[in-house]
Amino acid sequence: MRYSALSLLRGALNGHRDWPQAWRNPSLKGSYDAVIVGGGGHGLATAYYLAKQHGMRNIAVLEKGWLGGGNTGRNTAVSRSNYFYPESTRFFDHSLRLYEGLGRELNFNIMLSQQGIIGLAASRHELETYRRWVTAMQLQPVDAELLTRDQVAARVPLLNMSRRARYPVYGAFMQKRGAISRHDAVAWGYARAADALGVDIIQHCEVTGIDVAGGAVCGLRTTQGTVRSDKVALAVAGHSSELAAMAGLRLPIESQALQAMVTEPVKPCFDHIVISPAVHCYLSQSDRGEFVIGGGTDLYPSYGQRGSLRGTEAVLGAVVELYPALSRMRLMRQWAGIVDISPDTSPIIGKTPVTGLYLSTGWGTGGYKAIPAGGETLAWTMAEDRPHELIEPFGLDRFVSGRLIDEGAASGVAH
């Protein structure tokens, strides 16, 4: 059924008792034209675009846990395209443009709020770096601008603007199209739209083995039985190394815990997403009024979805210094997602040395913003069996050719 103001009104009149289930709960069939491992944003988006743009209908998405319950449900839901290198900006700006139309495309309100992202400069040197960065972006051309200290003060009244502040503000970078959205809605929207096109979404189905014969993938073993397919995509974030090892591949990936937390809800008082790269702390206020707080990864390998106390302390210490008014707020929840860090902190997406096996990994701390473009380009790559032009620079082969896209310093934060 199509969601609309009229259907909402009809639902309201009969007490919201007759809403149909948003997607089916099918059982696993014996074979598919394509199987996508990982029912997070990237996996679901890939399935959706395969069905929508490439006419494939016999597709399964296998998810070990529940839909969108991994990093998609654990991130801080920021979309932006303020990268530095043209390869990155092209890809991420395409993704942001898809986000801008996603609610209509999926007929599902993803609650996109383009409140703008502000990156604070804590020194003259950082401001100079921003000037170079902003200019590079404007040339591409993607919206970006510099804010003076006074403009920052007017936009973020809660910020500690004292001259004696531990983290002084010299100015800022801003991308006005930067947005937050409802992360569950993105997963649910893609799931519902993919399901409507016939995609089987199989939850609580863990892949235990990948069958490869003659250098080509031919099927998967799962906790719900075996399944044949000669096109398999892995979109499993921090578990990419584990899954790739089942097909005999080693990856240039290290899994780390990235944590986030939310405070108790308060009335709206924070209008933008504000990031302080120098201390690696970012903040936004959700529609429910909670402050959503994120920081850097714990700098050692981990599969524990907890995050270290050291990380929590560092982020909260910075929050309290930057926004003294928040110092007495209570923290409601803290958690971590396991992110897939690549050597150049750019994604690894496309074909692998195993025929028919496709990979979407290396999204690191910024996979959420890439969901629409990652899904669209991976679907294209699977359907055509050659890399989509937007992701050609992000292939696994760049680690042999040496053509890395080192976004570590330019992606907005220190790594």
Binding site: I253, S255, Y300, P301, G304, S308, R310, F399, G402
Partner: protein, 97 residues
């Protein structure tokens, strides 16, 4: 919060250490003689197991020494600490040294 047994200084908080990544990655003996794939594998490919990981740690804010740690990447339990240059410790089926 992890506590790590530095071979020189004893049990200290993880705050004092820095992880140097996977250990036992052997540099090709003749770098000029190997092909790009081999060199790339040496530089970038990692085990990244969901289980016991053999890794290097540096007591950055302590004695400054490097040493090896075998650590479970899910529970963060440290199962062995051993010197640089030593081989991987033998672990039993329960992952204990």
């Amino acid at each position: 919060m992890m506590r790590i047994e530095c071979p020189c200084c004893g049990l200290r908080s993880e705050d004092e250490f820095r992880c140097g990544g996977e250990s036992h990655v052997a540099r090709p003996a003749e770098p000029a003689a190997v092909d790009d794939e081999t060199w790339s594998a040496y530089l970038y490919l990692r085990e990244n197991p969901k289980g016991v990981h053999y890794e290097r740690w540096h007591h950055r804010y302590g004695c400054g020494q490097w040493f090896n740690v075998a650590r479970d990447l899910v529970s963060h339990e440290i199962v062995a600490v051993y010197p640089m240059g030593a081989g991987k410790p033998q672990l039993d089926r329960g992952g204990r040294a």
